[in-house]
């Protein structure tokens, strides 16, 4: 895999707290890359490092094989976790201004602003102050600000946080479209189902280190086999807990999700289930991203 953005051996400590502990990450062109990790894992510090906003103790960030400097960053787009817009400035002028700072001409910035506000459904709010907009619309403005200059890499820290389903769909679609048009998209999120839906690639970090990285399919099919079993009249799954080499990962609404140790025969599980009553469901399942995540950062 060729990585357009390569993050190699990042180290950063805040006093005695280690935020990044030799982190590596690579994102290829045309890819939506989900960046996951529990709170405090070092995601934000890593994303800020791409833009020179973190003073690194060690490590390097390169773009197309060259160290990232101001000229490269001009072609990057960034949506920080805590957002950042002038509350009292008009929406259109604000996006245009940020476009100009990324090197667009006055006319280019104006045209790109119009087009992005249109695409994100907030064109009619161009003349309003940012502070007059709802949270969801402010988020859209922030996204427009990150994309107005048609960046080659866009880094978004929790872009879907606090959005309603329509907002999530709209912003999610924009991210996928950007990647299809050749942009490199890296975003962090705690909404794992959405990440599973939007991303081709996922990286999970914890304690400032890479834990697991791969395509969503790879992660789903790797690791221990898992079974979904439903036995009529049996909801607590106590029988399954008694089986050797079987772990109950979830039991809800009569559905049991079981993780089998290597070497455990699924036929034995089926027999045990049938001994409890009528088996209405018995299937070998892919791992959900949330399961991958929980197992990775356990």
């Amino acid at each position: 895999m060729t990585g357009a953005i390569e993050i190699i051996g990042l180290r950063k400590a805040y006093g005695k707290t280690t935020a990044l502990d030799g982190l590596d990450l690579s994102v290829a062109t045309g890819e939506v890359h989900g960046f996951l990790g529990p709170n405090g894992a070092g995601k934000t510090t890593t994303m800020r490092a791409v833009f020179g906003l973190t003073e690194l103790d060690a490590g390097a960030v390169s773009w197309d094989g060259a160290p990232v400097g101001p000229s490269q960053r001009r072609r990057f787009g960034y949506m920080p976790e805590e957002r950042g817009l002038y509350p009292g400035m008009h929406v259109g002028e604000q996006v245009e201004y940020l476009g100009r700072l990324h090197g667009l001409s006055p006319a280019g910035a104006a045209a790109a602003t119009r087009s992005w506000l249109e695409r994100l459904g907030i064109a009619q709010r161009a003349g309003d102050k940012v502070e007059a907009l709802s949270h969801g619309n402010q988020q859209r403005v922030q996204l427009a600000a990150a994309l107005v200059h048609d960046p080659e890499l866009v880094v978004l820290d929790e872009p879907l946080a606090g959005l309603d389903p329509a907002g999530i769909d709209a912003i999610g679609q924009v991210l996928v479209d950007q990647a299809r048009s050749g942009c490199c998209v890296l975003f962090s999120s705690h909404q794992l189902d959405l990440v599973e839906e939007l991303c081709e690639m996922v990286t999970i970090i914890d304690h400032g280190r890479l834990v697991v990285s791969g395509t969503v399919d790879e992660l789903a099919t790797s690791g221990a086999r898992r079974l979904v079993v439903r036995v009529e009249g049996n909801r607590d799954g106590a029988w399954a807990r008694a089986l050797p080499g079987v772990t109950v990962s979830e039991a809800s609404g009569g559905e049991l999700r079981l993780v089998l140790d290597p070497g455990t025969d699924s036929d034995l599980v089926l027999q045990a289930a049938m001994a409890q009553g009528k088996v209405t469901e018995f299937s070998l399942e892919r791992r959900r991203l949330s399961e991958v995540f929980r197992e990775a950062v356990r």
């Binding site: 833009f51 990057f76 960034y78 002038y86 940020l98 100009r100 700072l101």
Partner: protein
Amino acid sequence: MKAIIPVLAIAVAVAIRVVRYRRRHAAAGAERQRRRRSGPGWLGDAGLVAGREVRERLRGKAFRIGTAIILVVVSAAIVIPVVSKGGPGHEPVGVVGTVPASTRQLLQILAKHSGLDVRIVPVQDDVAADEALRSGKIALCITGGQIRLLKAPAASDTSNSAVFVRALAQELGIERAYTDARLTPGQVEQLARAAPVPVVGLQATNKYGIVQGTSVIGVILVFIMLTQYLTWTLTGVMEEKASRVVEVLLATVRPIELLAGKVLGIGLVAMGQAVLVLGFAVALAEGVGSNLLHGTAPLELAAAGLWLLLGYAFWCWVYATAGSMVERQDQVQSLALPLSLPMLVGYITSLTVAGSGNPNLFADVLAYLPPTAPFAMPVLVGLSAVTWWEFVASALISVATTVAVARLASRLYRRAVLRTGKRVSVRELLAGLARS
């Protein structure tokens, strides 16, 4: 003319620095060349940042209201003395009976000395005089060896009209003494025309008159405007940090360009306002015939304008750095005193000197220190207490210090502005700087 010399000297010094800086940075590599070609104008990103700052400031209500308030204060400071000075001077002085030519002459001379303009009106008798006084037709009346007026001035009253009345009473008393001594009218006139003995000073007399009034107004204006502009700078930087927009900006703009654009933009708006206020003050003073513009006053105003610029140039970096350390108004409180103390010392000292008209050693020292020179130096210019080369020396010290302060500020700003949460302490910042 002398005012031009220091301005030219500073311009030359700045030009030399710019040329040297450009030479030093000419070979800074292809990156810079690329930016310059595709950059948004000769000032680069700093120009864009400054442009936004100017647009947003001019659009803001706070700016318009602030400007209006300053204009009202300036109008009051100029118009009120002119109006209150009027007093009885513009009204006629009544005279009962015949008055000798020497008395008329005396009346005019005394009035002129007191800055008044009197016109003599004959009044028939004491009754008519009192009536005219009550109706306000005359301000005072000379009658039968008396001065009659509606209300005699208190001994402590130092207004022009009170001084005039006392001097007139004194002179009329002397005149009566001459008459009692049986001097001939010719002798009395001769005495009245007596020329004062020459006053010889060992040092050269000041070329210009002393203009305390203008100095006082000048130093107050510099303080009010400088405080306002620096508050803009501090809150402007603080708001960018608080709204986290600084993170988006610094993802593409270098910290020094963002900071320079910010203070340049605010500086342009500030200087625009200052020119408007000074222009308005001068025009109004001319229009209402204020005496605030005589003697060294124009020079003093020019000096105040220049030092307002130099004062902003020096202090803006300090206030911008302070703004980068805080993100809430309550965090500003602990910075307010250490920030404003040097300015307050300069301001109060200069105001005292301007009011008394007597420069002292402390004020002389403050006039050479960049934090306080914006207040002290214009006052000393107004009092003709500095030579042009002293003025230039102080300006050069200020410019040189400003360059050093700006460099330090941009390094501290970069460290402080991205650190959110609690207030960033100066000690932490300096320690971080020492480590890097």
